[in-house]
């Protein structure tokens, strides 16, 4: 079992490092800085930290104004509020206006598990991915987060950066070099490709080990950039392995699974199963229990992979 490290603590550390390397970075909060750990930046750079109160629409609009002045604002609140309450600001000013604002979407997916469905955020990838000009990034672990954050600061245009609240397994070593817009192949495999993002990359790795024991060789792609989507990597994987599984901490509607289905449907139709939350609200409880209860498990990925490999065989036999 991989070591577990807190994503929000890693985010706080990475944000402080960014403050040192980028004097034009400003950090904004809507009164959740001790939840998302942006308070660490506040302590290090008080003159570059602005708390606008529990006012998420204002949070985004004030950030737009700072970006107009040439700064790189990092706005912080929960994913659920960017992708719902402040969405009109995101659409009109970040995307249509092409404002250089970075949305730091904390408590994403089911990770605020005890807060329940009001705070879970399982539709943000669908929403953000549909907006022209938006870039959508989902780091799989703390290493990925730490490496991607400075790249986000240097990347011109609006970015939605999805951060897990909890301790998650460390997948990558210090040599990991993620590039925005490029899928990362975590594991070579010939029979099926598991396309995953965020926490589900670690579960895909476990699933691939299980599948190996039953003779199925699974490739894994980490899609840390859900948009712009690395079509070529996904098409190549579909051609070479002939079967696809997607895994995301999100609704199966509109997110990573949909992106893969769109691209393979157009370019290389192959058997496909989507692992995610099946069009329903979850409930309150411990994180692992919620993930189990709503089907976001290693076993679900392995079962889906077995099923698409079978479907591929059936198709070939006809």
């Amino acid at each position: 079992m991989a070591e577990l490290v807190s994503m929000r603590k890693a985010y706080g550390d990475a944000l402080v490092a960014l403050g040192h390397s980028h004097s034009d970075v400003m950090v904004l909060s809507a009164d959740v800085s001790n939840s998302d750990f942006s308070f660490m930046f506040q302590e290090a750079f008080p003159e570059r930290f602005f708390d606008v109160g529990i006012a998420e629409q204002s949070l985004v609009d004030v950030a737009v104004g700072l970006a107009n002045g040439g700064y790189i604002p990092f706005a912080n609140t929960f994913a659920a509020f960017f992708a719902s309450r402040a969405l009109e600001m995101v659409r009109t000013h970040l995307c249509y206006g092409n404002a250089n604002v970075k949305l730091m979407a904390a408590y994403s997916g089911l990770s605020p598990s005890f807060d329940g469905p009001t705070h879970h955020c399982i539709t943000d990838l669908a929403i953000m991915r549909a907006l022209p000009r938006m870039t959508v990034i989902v780091p799989a672990d703390t290493v990925s987060l730490t490496k991607l954050l400075p790249a986000v600061a240097d990347y011109e245009g609006p970015v939605y950066f999805r951060i897990n609240r909890n301790e998650v397994p460390v997948i990558y070593g210090d040599d990991f070099k993620p590039v925005i817009g490029k899928a990362h192949q975590v594991r070579q495999g010939a029979d099926v490709t598991i396309v995953a993002c965020g926490l589900m990359v670690s579960k895909a790795i476990e699933a691939a080990a299980t599948l190996e024991t039953s003779g199925i060789s699974a490739r894994i792609l980490d899609i840390h950039t859900v948009k712009p989507f690395d079509r070529e990597a996904v098409i190549e994987a579909a051609r070479e392995t002939g079967a696809m599984v997607t895994a995301e901490e999100h609704s199966i509607i509109g997110g990573l699974g949909s992106a893969v289905a769109e691209v393979t449907g157009e370019e290389c139709p192959v058997p496909l199963r989507r692992v995610g939350v099946n069009d329903r609200f979850a409930e309150t409880g411990p994180y692992e229990a919620i993930l189990q209860g709503y089907g976001l498990t290693t076993q679900a990925i392995a079962d889906a992979a077995t099923s698409v490999v079978k479907a591929k065989g059936a198709g070939a036999a006809r």
Binding site: V52, G53, V64, G65, G70, T92, G97
Partner: protein
């Protein structure tokens, strides 16, 4: 006694009348656009663009420029007329308004139109965005500027947000107002185009705003009330608000929707409709008669 010369006041008053004719021509092009709110905001925008704002049409992104946010984005015909005649683009382009492939979109687009700072159209954004701009300029002013200002004023720019009255029903206006007060943004001035009429009728019947001055005062703002079609008063008040350093200011400008054309005044039906040929000719004739009074 006003601080500005009668010649300046007369010139700006005349321009605001002329720009109303531009607006009529623009709206006529595609038989769409907003006349009533463009006319009520005419003297406010013209006073800003042709005297008060420190801007450079040849360098629209000059970092220390003043920012103008037209929060009531549907009044963009009047904004475009001001930008064009101020030199941001050729006035001949004005009548492409709302046409396919035009830089002059139905609501302002900062990526297409030189001099437009942010998109507008969906209402209520101006104060919070203006607060962010003012925060940025405050940060800049604490550092030496890379480019010197074209005016005598050495500091970084200031922010001016022009609001409609109907739009301040939006909650985010008040979220932004609180943030601007918290950060003591003396470099932010809002001007409320208080014409009292919105799309479907009187503002007082849709969502009453009174006591409007008290509300802004309670939110920590410096409040001044003016006649919104009196250029001399507008210019003086803008100057005075620039001297308020510890809090943001709002100028509540009493205006008339459709101001300048008798049959359009106070009539909500002219919020967003185009005149027919007869109405167009009558409106232009009224405005030309008024313009003649201001020729020197």
């Amino acid at each position: 006694m006003h601080a500005h010369s009668q010649a300046l006041v007369g010139e700006l008053t005349r321009k605001a009348l002329e720009f109303r004719i531009d607006v009529l021509n623009m709206v006529l092009t595609n038989e769409s656009g907003h006349i009533g709110g463009s006319f009520s905001v005419a003297e406010i925008l013209t006073s800003l663009f042709f005297h008060h704002l420190r801007i450079d049409p040849d360098n629209p992104k000059w970092p220390d420029r003043d920012r103008l946010v037209l929060s009531k984005g549907h009044a963009c015909p009047m904004l475009y007329a001001n930008l064009a005649h101020r030199g941001f683009f050729d006035p001949a382009e004005l009548t492409t308004f709302r046409s396919f492939d035009s830089r002059l979109q139905g609501a302002p687009d900062s990526n297409k139109t030189p001099g437009v700072e942010v998109p507008a159209g969906p209402l209520g954004h101006g104060i919070a965005i203006g607060a962010g701009m003012a925060l940025a300029l405050k940060q800049r002013s604490s550092k030496p500027s890379s480019q010197s200002a074209p005016s005598s004023r050495a500091s970084a720019g200031r922010v001016y947000v022009v609001l409609g009255d109907g739009e301040i029903a939006a909650g985010v206006i008040w979220e932004g107002a609180l943030a601007a007060a918290k950060y003591r943004l003396g470099n932010l001035t809002a001007v409320l185009d208080y014409n009292g009429i919105q799309q479907t009728g009187a503002t007082a019947d849709r969502l009453p705003l009174e006591p409007i001055a008290d509300k802004w005062r309670a939110f920590g703002w410096h409040v001044v009330e003016v006649h919104g079609h009196n250029v001399a008063e507008i210019l003086d008040t803008l100057d005075r608000c620039d001297e308020v350093h510890a809090q943001p200011s709002i100028i509540i400008a009493r205006t008339v929707k459709g101001k300048g054309v008798s049959f359009m005044e106070y009539d909500h039906r002219w919020h967003g409709k185009s005149p027919n040929d007869e109405e167009y000719s009558a409106a232009v004739a009224e405005l030309e008669k008024e313009i003649a009074k201001w020729q020197n």
